[in-house]
Every structure is written in structure tokens, then in C-alpha cells.
Amino acid sequence: MSEMQEMIIDSTIKIMEKFSTKEVVNEAEQGQWAAELWNVLVEYGMTSVAIPEELGGSDGDYADAFSILRLAGKYSAPVPLAETFLANWLLSELGEYVTTEIMTISYSNNSNPLQFVKEDSGWIVMGKVKNVPWARFAEKLLIQGEAEEGSILALINLKHANIVKGHNLAGEARDEVVFNQVLMDDCKIFSVNSNQMADKIYYGGALTRAIMMAGALENIFELTVNYASERSQFGRPINRFQAVQHHLALLAGETAAANMAANCAVAAFQKASGNKEIALAKIRVNEAAGKASPIAHQVLAAIGFTYEHTLHHSTRRLWAWRDEFGTETDWEKIIAKDLLKLQQNQLWSLVTEVINEEKVEIK
């Protein structure tokens, strides 16, 4: 890890500890915007990492950005940092200058994309999209749609939309965004290859969730280990019981595996490839979430089942995020398609990424 990255991590931890507190997370669930947290992140340039300064970003690379996001996941930061990263990265790739606005992005593989019609004074938009993260707080939405000319990517000012509030398992805003034939004079339209763009958003989104989940897993691991040393029953700390120790060991294993998987996927993404790794990582991290959350709840017992305790900030997020941008099954189907293209005895080539025979093509 670079010195720069260590500094970024240190300052992110400080920011999160101060501004993404239990109260802030709970209030966000009640519908309050975590303005202070967001403003500090903006002030430190943390919403535009991995974008060159010439395009309004704060430089750094993807690994830096994901190290911030990992902590946002660990501290349950109730802000669209992942979405803003993704949107800004895509925009800067299109040569756009990025701003400090609150962004969100939607991935919809639904059969009813937003319809865009060109008018003299702008674009008329029609349609609705579900489960848009943080839409009620965001200023801009980056979303794919259809126009007469073909497939497009649109940057829309959300003031034109009707927003129907919705929530994921963790109480994070996942809103429905509705456009009733509104005329927009301030949207940006890019013509794009529909499938390529959809993949970019899907894989990128999955990576953000994987790394945030790795952070959340680390949080429940720490909470559980600490609790097990503080809570006493039968005259001794519960971590002295072997059954509890085995819970801790399994939790450690899932946490370490998920972090390894997510970090490897980030490393691969950094090298501008990484689709296969993202798929493998999302499967592994999702699996870890499903195994680790029940362990943490078992060890914390009744107190961990309350709203008062913060364990649920992470466990509910893990349960929510594992289904966002692809469940295990979704990603397994994708990997299965790659496997199907292999010749006999080539699984090992896929695992080691060294191919003997030239014929096979591995994504």
C-alpha cells in the first residue's frame, strides 16, 4: 500500500468516526440527509478520486477510491459515495468535467428504459425507474435510456423527477424516480453502446458493493470479537467458551476471505480488466455476508437484535448489498458462460490466468 493511500485511509477513518456516527446513520434512516458528512467528503476531494485534476477530479487511482469506499461501508456512511464515484468516473471517461454535485446512478436491465424525445428546447423524458439509490437527496442522475437515434446515457437533473420514496433492507433510500413527459432543458445526452455501458455500470456497481461489504464485514467482526470479550456469563467472558470461539474463528475466516476477494477484484479493476475477478469476488463476498451476519447475531444474542445496538447497521446493509448488482446466482450464471467456453482441462488456466493453448478466450 502506498504512503498516499495510508494517509487517505487515516483521514477517512477520522471523518467517518466523527461524521458517520450511530446517530447520523439512524437519522438517515428516518429520512435526514447526512449533510455534514457529505460536505466534509466533498471538501477533502473524496467524491472525485481517480479522476484527473484537469477534469475537476482530485487525482489518485481506483485503489485509493475503493479504500475510501471500504471505510464508507464499514461505517455505514449514509451517502451516495459509491454512486457518485461511478457516475463521475463514467462522465470523466466521456471527457466531461466533473462537479461536486451529489450524484446517483441507476442500473436497470428492465425492459422499459426511459424514453427520450428531442425537442427544440431540450429533451422530453418519460418513464420510471425503481430502486434508485439516494435519489431523493441526489442532484443528478446518470442513467441509460433510449432516443430515436438509439441508445443513450443521460445526465438528468433530478428536480424534473417525481420521487416515490422506497428503502432497502437497511433503510437506505432506494427510491422510484418518475418522469411524466417532462421537458428538460438542462440534461446531457451521450450516445453509447447500450450493452457495453450496461456492463460497465453493472460490474462497477458490483465492485462498489463488494468492497463496501468487505468493510461492513470487518465491522461486524470487530464488534463481535469485542463483545465476546466484554460480555460475561457463568462467571467468565463468553469468549472462553469453545462454541463461541468457533463462531469467532468462522467469522474471522469469512471476513478475511471476503476482504481478500474484494481486494483482488480492485487490483484487477485497477489494471483495466477485472470483469472475471469482480464476478468471482461478488459471489464470494455475498456468500460471506450470508454466513457472517448470522454468526455475529448469534454471539451478540438479544442485544444485537435491537435497534439500539449498531450491529444491524452492518448486518442489514450486508443483507441488502448482497442482492444489489447481482446475487450469487446471477454471477454464477455469468461465470458458467465463461466455463462453457473452456476446452477440456482448462479450468486451471482460468484460475491461474496462464493459458497453454492459444485457442481459448477468457474474459
Binding site: A249, K333, L342, L350
Partner: protein, 383 residues
């Protein structure tokens, strides 16, 4: 959570050449009929000839200094070679223990004479070792061992017995953990030493214990007034426990802790591809995701071990997850293809499945049981 941090290793480009060399070698050997892939090959596929061939290519003792017959190469290069051999199910059992832990033990604690004597022989694939830890009344509780050595002129006289000793029937030596002082109830780990016992010595009796498959893999070994010369004491007298513990991280985090049943996974995948069974391949994808993660963890540990970072906790954790994964491959495979597993079958898939199922109980026992490992991990993270 510092103890759980494992670095991401990016394999240097040069290792690709090495990897291809190993693959080419394996391909040729298979074509020659030198071996057929086996599950759990590092335990059960023994071939002196094959071990010697690896030795002559410099693939045993790869990381040891050249002056001792080693290759002077990196831990990562060794990793590449061993994982290729394991994935291919090649007969590596004969030299496995000597290459993995006895050689490194001599390097770390041995005398110059011991290094000059043993290391070149091991590196040639000629000299095999066994591990003498377990005894009838000392399994997980290793400190309960009773085998003892008493000082005499120019050496030690050894009495007692070891059990479950893998490969003692073909090994030349056994690294024997024994008491050289009476047991001290205040410090159970004190007073133990490691001796390199020549298994052809007078007073050594080796009796087979057959696995449930009928295979002869491990043994009972009895010592009756066996004379062990002073030159065969490894490291310090009385420091045997601590020395033995340093082997453990190597022993627990290597690729053999998650690749024992890989040949079955390969064969299963072949079959599913042939059948264009996408649903089955989706189940395999889950296993591939675990395999990929485990391999990266294991590689990360190999790298930090080389840098001298203590890694006992993460190594134990990898062994726990890895061995469970090995068992799961067989459990998944049997549900995806309807075949009748049989050791005698002429079908590769049926045979590998049988080997994997029948060997699976051992995965989570050898080298420290799952229960013991979880205790180590839990205590480690609680600190």
C-alpha cells in the same frame, strides 16, 4: 484486525515461463504413462522415479541456497511449481514432507554438517522424511508425548512409539519430537527435542496401519533402545517444541490445503462442459470463486512468510476454510453428475470422486484438526 491482513500478490511475469515449463513436463509425463492424476496426490501418490525427475529439474528445495543443492529461488516460484503439480494430481508424496518442512527445518536450525548432508539429497528427490509427532496418547494434545531420549556417550538412546506416521515405510528419516527431560507440569512445552532418526537403525520397527480404503499410507513406529548420534539432534536440545511450531505456518497455508481434490473439480468441469450443463457449471462457479479466493489468500501468506511476518493465525484460518472446501468439491460433484464412484473404476471421474470422498475425513484432521485450528484463530483474534 491487523492479524487478518493478507496482501494481494501479483505473480511476476517470469513465473509464467516457469509455469509453462512445469505444465509441459507434466503433459509429457502423462503421455508417457508415468502417472494418472489422483486426488490427494501429495498424500497417496508415491513415486521415487517421479520425485527424482523433479529433483533433476530443480523443483525440489527450490528456495534453498544453491550451495546446499537448492535452487535459490523465491517462495512464489516454489508456489507456482507446487500448485501446478497438485492441480495435475501428480505423484509428489514421496518428497513432499522433506521439501515442505524437513529441509526448511534444517536450514533454519540445522548444523552446517546437517545442511551439507541432508539438503542436497532431499533436493535430488532421493531422501524422504516423515514426521514423528503423534503418539497413541498424544494427538491434538501434542505436549503429552512420552517418547523419550536419554543422553549417553556421543548420542541419545530413544524409546517409545509414534503413530499415524505418513510414509514411514518408505522414508529414510523421521524428524522425531521426543522428551529429553522429564515432563514439567509447570511448563508442558519444555524439555522436548527434535531428532533426525535414521529409520534403518537397529531397534526401529515400522508396522503399517491401513487407511479405510485399504491403502498403506501411515504407520506405527516403535523405538527400542535406538541409538541416535549427537550429530542428529536438530537445533537446541530442549527447544524442540518452539522449533516445531515454526514449521506450522508453512504446513498449514500451502496450496495442498485446498487443492487435494482439485483433479476431481477439473474432471467434473470437463464433464459438465461436454454435456453443456450450464446449471451444473453455475454450481462449479461458486466453487471457482472460493478456490480463487483461497488461492489468493494462500499466495499472500506465502509472500509474507518469506518476509518473516508471523502468520500462524491466517495460516490456520486458510487451512480450516481450505480443507472444508476440499471436502465440498466431492459433495458438490456427486450431486451434479450421476455416476457410481469407485476406486477401481476405469472412468477418471468415478475414480477421482471415490478417492475424494474416501480421503476426505483426513483433510480436516492431518496437520491439526479443524477444532484445534479454530481455537488458534479465535485466541489469535481475541488478543
Amino acid at each position: 484486525m491487523k492479524t487478518l491482513k493478507i496482501p494481494v500478490v501479483e505473480l511476476p511475469k517470469e513465473t509464467e515461463i516457469l509455469r509453462r515449463e512445469v505444465r509441459q513436463f507434466i503433459k509429457e509425463e502423462k503421455e508417457k504413462g508415468a502417472f494418472i492424476p489422483k486426488s490427494d496426490c501429495w498424500l497417496s501418490a508415491v513415486s521415487l522415479e517421479f520425485s527424482k525427475k523433479l529433483g533433476s529439474r530443480g523443483w525440489i528445495g527450490m528456495t534453498w541456497p544453491v550451495r546446499y543443492g537448492g535452487g535459490g529461488r523465491s517462495a512464489i516460484e516454489r508456489y507456482v511449481v507446487t500448485e501446478e503439480l497438485l492441480a495435475a494430481g501428480a505423484p509428489v508424496a514421496r518428497h513432499w514432507i522433506a521439501d515442505r518442512q524437513s529441509g526448511p527445518l534444517f536450514l533454519k536450525f540445522g548444523t552446517e554438517e546437517q545442511k551439507n548432508f541432508f539438503l542436497p539429497r532431499i533436493a535430488k528427490g532421493e531422501c524422504a522424511f516423515s514426521i514423528g509427532l503423534s503418539e497413541p496418547d498424544a494427538g491434538s494434545d501434542l505436549a503429552a508425548i512420552k517418547t523419550r531420549a536419554v543422553k549417553v556417550e556421543k548420542g541419545w538412546v530413544l524409546n517409545g512409539s509414534k503413530t499415524w506416521t505418513s510414509g514411514a515405510h518408505y522414508a529414510d528419516y523421521m524428524i522425531t519430537l521426543c522428551r529429553t527431560c522429564p515432563q514439567d507440569s509447570n511448563n508442558r512445552h519444555a524439555g522436548m527435542s527434535q531428532l533426525a532418526v535414521d529409520l534403518t537403525s537397529k531397534g526401529v520397527t515400522i508396522r503399517p496401519i491401513h487407511l479405510m480404503t485399504g491403502e498403506h499410507h501411515f504407520n506405527e513406529v516403535f523405538f527400542e533402545d535406538v541409538f541416535v548420534p549427537d550429530e542428529m539432534v536438530i537445533g537446541e536440545v530442549g527447544n524442540g517444541w518452539a522449533q516445531g511450531m515454526t514449521e506450522l505456518a508453512y504446513e498449514r497455508s500451502g496450496p495442498e490445503r485446498f487443492l487435494s481434490t482439485y483433479p476431481l473439480l477439473n474432471e467434473l468441469t470437463n464433464r459438465l462442459i461436454e454435456d453443456e450443463d450450464e446449471e451444473g457449471l453455475a454450481k462449479v462457479s461458486r466453487l471457482v470463486s472460493r478456490l480463487w479466493t483461497l488461492r489468493n489468500m494462500s499466495l499472500g501468506i506465502a509472500q509474507i512468510l518469506e518476509q518473516g511476518v508471523p502468520s500462524n493465525i491466517i495460516a490456520s484460518l486458510v487451512k480450516d476454510i481450505g480443507t472444508k472446501f476440499e471436502q465440498e468439491i466431492a459433495e458438490t460433484a456427486r450431486l451434479l453428475v450421476s455416476v457410481v464412484p469407485s476406486i477401481q473404476s476405469g472412468s477418471q471421474l468415478e475414480r477421482l470422486m471415490a478417492e475424494s470422498i474416501l480421503h476426505s475425513p483426513g483433510f480436516t484432521l492431518r496437520g491439526g484438526t479443524t477444532e484445534i485450528l479454530r481455537g488458534i484463530v479465535a485466541k489469535g483474534v481475541m488478543q
